[in-house]
Every structure is written in C-alpha cells, then in structure tokens.
C-alpha cells in the first residue's frame, strides 16, 4: 500500500527540526518519489560544456532516472534533451561521449533530429500521410527538459517546466562556482580526463550530508590520514623539510576539532551551503611558482589576492553535487536506488594556470575519491554500515541535532560554528519543500 505518494503531510512528517526518519534513506517508495518530484523540481547538474566542445559533441547522462543527452548544436549552444527517439523510445546515443555529426539518426528506424532536438524526417514518410502523425508527440521534436542554464560552463537543467528560476534557486551560492572559475587567469575551466566512478551501496543523501560533516574526518580517517602523518613524521629528513604534495593533501584530514569549529559553515536558502568560511583543509597548500603573478596580471593584485584567499572546503549545491573551488573538483552523487548511489568525481584544468595546479588536483582526486583510495574506503565503510544499521527497528530516527537552535530560518543566509549540522538540516528543509511542492494536495 502506498504510504507517501500524493501524501505531502506524510512526507513532511519524516523531517523533524533535529532528526529525520530512516525512510528518507531506506524506503523504496520515498526513493521513487524523489525521482518523480525532487529531481524534477530542482536544478540538477548535467555536465560541463568543455565535455562537448564542438558542434555535434554529446555527453549522455541521467537526471534522476531520466535518460539525458547534453549536446552542442551547430550554433554553439548546449542543449539538454531526453535521450529517446520520439518514435518508439530507442535511446539515440549510448556512448558516454561522442559526436553525432549534424544530426541524430535513430539506429532502429532512421528517424532523424537536428542537434537541438528539432525533428528532421524519416524514411517512407508518405506512409504517415493523412495519419495525423503531426498531431502526435511522436511526430514532433525530441523531448526537451523544462529549463537549461549554462552558468560559466556548468550546465544545469530543471526537468519540470515550472519551478524556481536558476538565479532564485541558487542565489548567492553561485559564488563558490565563481571562485572556482575565477582561479583561472582566463576565467575558464576545461574538463581534465574521465571522472572517477565509485559505486556506493548506500543512499545518495548520506554522501551529500558527509560533505559538510566536520566531526568525522579525525575519526573515520584516522586509519588513512593519521597513518599518513605518522609515517611522514617518522621518516622525514628534517623538522623543517618541505612537505611533499601527497602529505599536504592528506594530512589536513587529521586536523583538530577546533580547526573544524573555527573554519565555519555558511548556509544559503534552498539547501545549499559550504564548509570552510574562514579557512579550510585547502588553505595551507604550498604556493605554485608563477601562479600568483599570472593571476595578478589578469585581475590586479588585490582582486587576485581576494580570489586566492577564498579557500572554501566543500560547497553543496542541492540536491546532489559538491564543488571544491580550491581543487577544481566537482562530485556528483547519482541516485540509482534507495540503497545504491554512483559517485562521479570530475576535475577541471584552470586554463592559463601552471600545470602543477592540475597535478595537485589530479592527486587529490585519486588519493581521496577513487574506488582505490584509502580515504574513500574509510568513508564508504561508514555509509554502508549506516545503510545496514538503519534497518534496526529499535530506533527509527537519525540525529542531525548538533548546534541546533529552535526556530531555525533556512531562508536566511547564516554563518555558524564549523561543526554545526545546520547544513544537513537545511538540506532536509529543502528536501521536504521540493518533494511535496508538485504533489496533489500540496497546498493543503
């Protein structure tokens, strides 16, 4: 029996001010409703436009469960279309990336579409004369998503034809993407290689919450980062020997509770937020020779200092991506089932900046976020234990109470102690809103 479909009150009741019901993580019907409502009503990241640099270049992906193709049209614009022939449903392209030339040609019956989705034609067209095909969706263009926005190279889409516009959905949170792009002297990023793809047997929201969970690194990562610090200290040639890049990347995971408390968390409306307001685990990387001069030449010294002085740690763009500005990394938490999530970790090259920055970025990605990464192993072990532990019937609520105060207003921007779980609560506040906004009886 359906408990949650078209029952916005029951969905909202899963979210209390300082705890959430386990059904948000384990219930299959809730997952189906997330796909139907949450991932249709929100702006979801699709891809970076440098993944499709030339006309006809495409990238296939999913938004929620929807098969999607992002494609560069002849005029240079990037379109986001449903990857389905209007005729019988065949996916038009299935390679992760490729070039379809001037048009899509369905491999099943050779129906064709321009690279902006406009219908072109089919063989033996006269067989449809007088049948009224032109009045059917099948005789029309490829289906388009509700809205698309290319923000400084980052392409987002909203499946629903109604809903918040891009600017009001993201608001000031776009400052984190701005900072990441501004770190290129030319103000431009380019995709650097294929993404890491890491399968997690847990709910996608556990990963999103972990991005601003600052009380886990020194515990869960003691095995990796703690050991890294220990063997470095045992073997370093001298007290003041320069730290190799790998140590610089991994050691800050063992920073103290005080470090994380003082770094601060900022939340924005609609579920967005970031750690590392004042400093972060990315603050103390050694300077890359020549980089500051390039930045100063491009922006002036004062502005260059401001851009590089911003060291935000993890910025969550609700619902399912995280951006690391100082690292030029984007991770997307792709929901596959209530207990299955695919994590893809992309890195970008700062166009016009020294190669050594990309080297650090690529190192970060593989040391922290690969299926072969010991830091990743620490985290996944915890998520999977949680997914299994949540089945315990003795306790059905998950705590998100740390530094909670009564009457929190998530429509206001706030900066708080870096160990607050306010950003997790902010996400669930947005979750309840975008889950139910399009349900029957939502106004009641």
């Amino acid at each position: 029996m359906s408990r949650y479909a078209e029952n916005p009150a029951a969905v909202k009741a899963l979210i209390r001010p300082a705890e959430v019901h386990r059904d948000v993580y384990v219930d299959a019907e809730i997952f189906d409703l997330e796909m139907k409502h949450l991932f249709a009503n929100t702006w979801v990241f699709v891809g970076h436009d440098s993944q499709t640099p030339n006309p006809g270049d495409y990238f296939t992906t999913e938004i929620g469960r929807q098969p999607i193709v992002m494609i560069r049209h002849q005029d240079g614009e990037v379109h986001v279309l449903y990857n389905r022939c209007a005729h019988k449903g065949t996916k038009l392209v299935i390679d992760r990336t490729g070039n379809t030339g001037k048009f899509f040609r369905c491999p099943y019956h050779a129906w064709t579409y321009k690279t902006d989705g406009t219908r072109l034609g089919m063989p033996l067209r006269k067989g449809y004369d007088g049948t009224g095909l032109e009045n059917s969706a099948s005789g029309n263009d490829m289906a388009r998503v509700g809205a698309v926005r290319n923000y400084r190279g980052f392409v987002f889409a909203r499946l629903s034809h109604e809903g918040p516009d891009f600017e009001s959905f993201f608001g000031e949170s776009l400052s984190s993407i701005d900072n990441m792009v501004d770190r290129s002297p030319e103000g431009r990023l380019e995709i650097a290689g294929p993404p890491l793809r890491y399968m997690h047997r847990c709910n996608w929201k556990m990963l999103v919450e972990n991005q601003t969970d600052t009380c886990h690194p020194m515990v869960a990562h003691e095995s990796s980062a703690g050991t890294a610090v220990r063997i470095w200290e045992e073997s370093r040639p001298a007290e003041d020997a320069p730290k190799p890049m790998a140590i610089q990347v991994i050691a800050p995971f063992m920073s103290s509770y005080e470090f994380f408390e003082e770094m601060g968390i900022r939340t924005w409306p609609n579920g967005h937020g970031h750690t590392g307001v004042h400093h972060s685990i990315h603050s103390d990387y050694s300077e890359i020779p020549g980089y500051f001069d390039q930045m100063s030449a491009a922006y002036g010294e004062e502005r260059a200092r401001a851009i590089l002085g911003e060291n935000r740690h993890n910025t969550v763009y609700f619902p399912n991506i995280m951006v690391k500005g100082p690292i030029q990394q984007l991770r997307i938490f792709i929901p596959l089932a209530a207990d299955k999530t695919l994590v893809e970790s992309y890195i970008y090259r700062l166009v016009g900046a020294p190669e050594m920055l990309l080297e650090r970025t690529a190192m970060y990605n593989r040391l922290i976020n690969a299926p072969t990464s010991i830091v990743g192993h620490d985290d996944l072990e915890m998520y999977e234990r949680a997914q299994e532990g949540l089945m315990a019937d003795g306790l059905e609520w998950v705590n998100v109470q740390r530094l909670h105060t009564d009457g929190e207003d998530f429509d206001a921007i706030a900066v708080e102690n870096g160990t607050t779980e306010r950003q997790m609560r902010n996400q669930f506040n947005a979750w309840a809103k975008y889950m139910t906004i399009s349900m029957q009886g939502a106004g009641a």
């Binding site: 650097a192 890491y198 095995s223 220990r230 790998a246 080297e359 690529a362 072969t372 010991i374 072990e381």
Partner: protein, 160 residues
C-alpha cells in the same frame, strides 16, 4: 645475479603476485627500486600519470602508507580484512637490455578480491619494468591496466 634469465624474470613476476595473495606486504615493499611507481590508470590513453586522474599512482611513501594502514587498529574497512587471489598468464618478456640492466614483462591476469560475503573479479594486464639492483631484480614501474577502467567499482582495497 649477473644477468637474469627468462626464467628468473618470470619467477619474479609470479613471486610478486604470490606475496600479495599471501598478505606478505612488507616483503612486497622490499621488491621496489628507489623512485619507483605502482600505476593503475583511469584513462587507458593516459601518457602522463600526474596530469589526469589515475586510480593509483603510488610512490614509495604512498605504498608504505597503504601497507601500514592495513595493520592499523582503527582501519575499519579492513575489519574484517580483505584477501586477494591472482591467476596469472605466463608473462611475456617484452624487452631485455643487459647493458642498461632493464627488463620489461607483460602479464595478463585475473584478480579476485574478497571480504565478508562479497567477492569480485577484475581482468587486468600488468607491465613490469624491472631493474637490477644489488644483485636482485627490483620493480621500477608496475603498471596495471584494468580491462574496464571506466566502469564504476565499489571498494578495491588491495594491490592488483
């Protein structure tokens, strides 16, 4: 050892895999030459392991870190521990340079890793770039190319 024979090179590759399967990781660490790397590319066409994401690109420090972590009291993802099992095809001897003291082998293999009730299978090819050092064979590079590096994997916790 003056010059390793074909059999010596082949034995080395088998012995190396056996150390991993038997969990003799400290012995395995001793097989490496200075300034050497264990490299598992993510992008099969990658030429520079540093400027594009790799699955692994481990120098001496990172290899030791991985081995030390396996022994840790709070290494929760290794409680219980993982075990692995290599099935090697006979290595091809691709290059022998006695003057330089360098040797290259290529070895297709199947790899099984197991933990708790789970077990997964990977197909891969290892290229060993070997050198003579203090009379013994040592690894300068072990490059492991997965058959499907672009696929999504769960945890791969040991060395292939």
């Amino acid at each position: 050892m003056t010059f390793p024979s074909r059999d010596d090179l082949i034995e080395f590759v088998y012995d190396e895999a056996r150390m991993l399967d038997e969990g003799r990781f400290d012995d395995w660490l001793a097989l490496w030459a200075p300034d050497s790397h264990y490299w598992m590319p993510l992008d099969p066409d990658a030429e520079n392991p540093k400027l594009v994401t790799a699955l692994m690109h481990e120098d001496d420090y990172l290899r030791r870190l991985r081995v030390e972590r396996l022994k840790g009291a709070r290494t929760f993802s290794q409680k219980p521990r993982s075990r692995c099992h290599h099935v090697l095809q006979r290595p091809f001897i691709d290059a022998v340079d006695h003057d330089a003291g360098t040797f290259t082998t290529t070895t297709p293999f199947l790899y099984v890793e197991s933990r708790l009730d789970e077990q997964f299978l990977l197909a891969a090819t290892a290229r060993h770039e070997l050198v003579l050092l203090d009379g013994g064979i040592r690894m300068k590079l072990k490059r492991v190319d997965l058959l499907n590096p672009e696929a999504a994997f769960g945890n791969i916790q040991l060395f292939l």
